[in-house]
């Protein structure tokens, strides 16, 4: 997926400028880290790129076509975008497997296929023994890995992760980041991750630094980014 954002602006009522004149481009297989303090506009930018929110002005292009022209947008999201949030955002009343199946429901995938695909991706993420557990009965790391499985289950070509390791200890955080990077490499997908964690940001191909809704630096990683030490899916 070729993703472009052209002069994106997002203002909220009360004169809050969440995103100001942000332009960026991402290509297949590229990983980008959005870094910046809280309130710098990272989450809002991810929401705009993923079509969860509409910009006040500017445009998001996917393969040179405005995102707003993909109809229905929900289906586009289900098929091509995977979201990972800081607080896993699993539905507490559903088992981990059922949570992973959620993005397949709007695509009218049969129950049997949904189940098989969910179990397959969960096995790859080491959750095969937790499939029928409720989120409340597994560890924070397992919940976040389940959230990653949910994001990956439809094989998206754009992964948007909003501080996916922000609520995890360093070992679990590294594991989740390994999974995301490995997937990006394997599937030639694009990963844009918002993070406070400089170590995580160092592993991306590119770092975009935000402050007060604007890009103040857009730099290629000198080390070339990558999996670092321990990624194996």
């Amino acid at each position: 997926m070729k993703l472009e954002a052209n002069v994106l602006v997002k203002d909220y009522e009360g004169g809050v400028h969440a995103v100001r004149d942000v332009s960026l481009a991402a290509t297949d297989g590229e990983t980008i880290a959005l870094i910046g303090p809280s309130g710098s506009g990272k989450s809002t930018l991810l929401n705009l790129l993923g079509g969860l929110d509409a910009p006040s002005s500017g445009v998001v292009l996917v393969d040179a076509k405005p995102l707003s022209l993909f109809r229905p947008l929900e289906r586009f999201r289900a098929e091509r975008i995977g979201f990972v949030f800081q607080f896993h955002h699993l539905l507490p009343q559903l088992s981990l497997r059922e949570n992973v199946e959620l993005p397949m429901i709007p695509l009218r995938i049969s129950f049997r296929q949904r189940r098989n695909r969910a179990l397959e991706i969960m096995a790859r993420l080491g959750l095969e023994n937790r499939a029928e557990f409720l989120p409340a009965r597994v560890s924070g790391g397992e919940r976040q890995r389940c959230a990653v499985a949910r994001a990956l289950v439809n094989s998206p070509d754009l992964l948007l992760a909003d501080e996916p390791t922000g609520n995890l200890d360093s070992a679990n955080g590294r594991q989740v980041m390994d999974i995301l990077l490995e997937w990006t490499r394997e599937a030639s997908a694009t990963l844009i991750v918002a993070t406070h964690d400089f170590e995580m940001a160092r592993r991306a191909d590119r770092r975009i630094r935000l402050r007060d809704g604007s890009i103040i630096a857009n730099e290629k990683n000198a080390t070339g980014g990558g999996l670092g030490i321990s990624a194996k899916l």
Binding site: T44, H89, I105
Partner: protein, 364 residues
Amino acid sequence: MIALRNLYRNWVRNLLTLFGAAVGIAVFVVLISISLTVKASLKSVISAYEGDVVVQSRRSATPASSRITMEHMEALRTLEGVATVTPVVLGSVKTPWSPYFIVFGIPETFSSRFSLIRGRAFREGAAELLLGEKASRAIGVDLGETVNLADREFALVGIYATGAPFIDGAAVGSLEEVRGILDQPEVVNLALLRVRNEIPVQEIIKAIHRTLPRLRATYGADLVDQLQFFRTIDTFAGAISLVALLASCLVVTNTLLMAVWARTREIGILMAVGWSKSLIVRSLLTESLLICILAGVLGNALALFFLRFLVDSGITGLGWVPVVVPSSVFWVSMAICSILGLISGLYPAIVASTLSPAQALRQE
């Protein structure tokens, strides 16, 4: 899947909602069941007599309050085209087993119209009585024993079963003796007319209205529906049912709205992973439908329990209250529940579907 889990998730709140809605449904089922059963029973009385035309006094709300004098009866007999005129007396007497025990008085020749399962027909002036099967069971008397009605002893000579609870919970005696029990000499309650084959029934009805303005004549089959009493009961039952169903609807809507507000972020998550507005609407409507259908089943069970309680307690007349919910009432109530489910869930579902995914995800 999600709808079911959501019901279980807030089971206390949903159970209370379910009970609230079920009570509304039960009120509807009880009122309609009683109205339908009593009407069906009365219709079976009319059809048993094969009355082409039923005559009662014009201002009477029920057959029991109707008064037809002997002069009017004679005038009916002399009408051109009338083949036979059968007088019927009916009313209720207070007894130890029922405060409103129904007694019918008919000519001896018509007692054969009641399907006797044991014994024989009564004889005029012999202080003999027929009892419905339900009544004989409730009173605990058998053939050869006596039954005391309004301080008069009657020999039980026959037991009948018509299948109509209202009739089978009553007694049938000779016209004169029942008039004596009910203390209404010189009047009868109904006159059942058979019309000669060559004469249109409508002509007879018109003639009665023209020549006897104090009487009201109706087709035998239409009598029950035209009784003011039943019209009032139907209106009353309809109004109470409407209020009860509306209250049920509001209870379910309120619960679902609370659920939508409590689950705003979850709705945002579903939107983020690709759920369309219509899928979210469908999920909430399913939840609402499930609550209402379960409330329907529970409401019918409550209604059955309440009807049995009424019958067993004996505070109503024998046969007035059905001991089962007619299947037609059950299915109509379930259909109403389905419609209620859709109506109740619609507004919460629309509220949920209009949420912006980003805003919903930010919700604490």
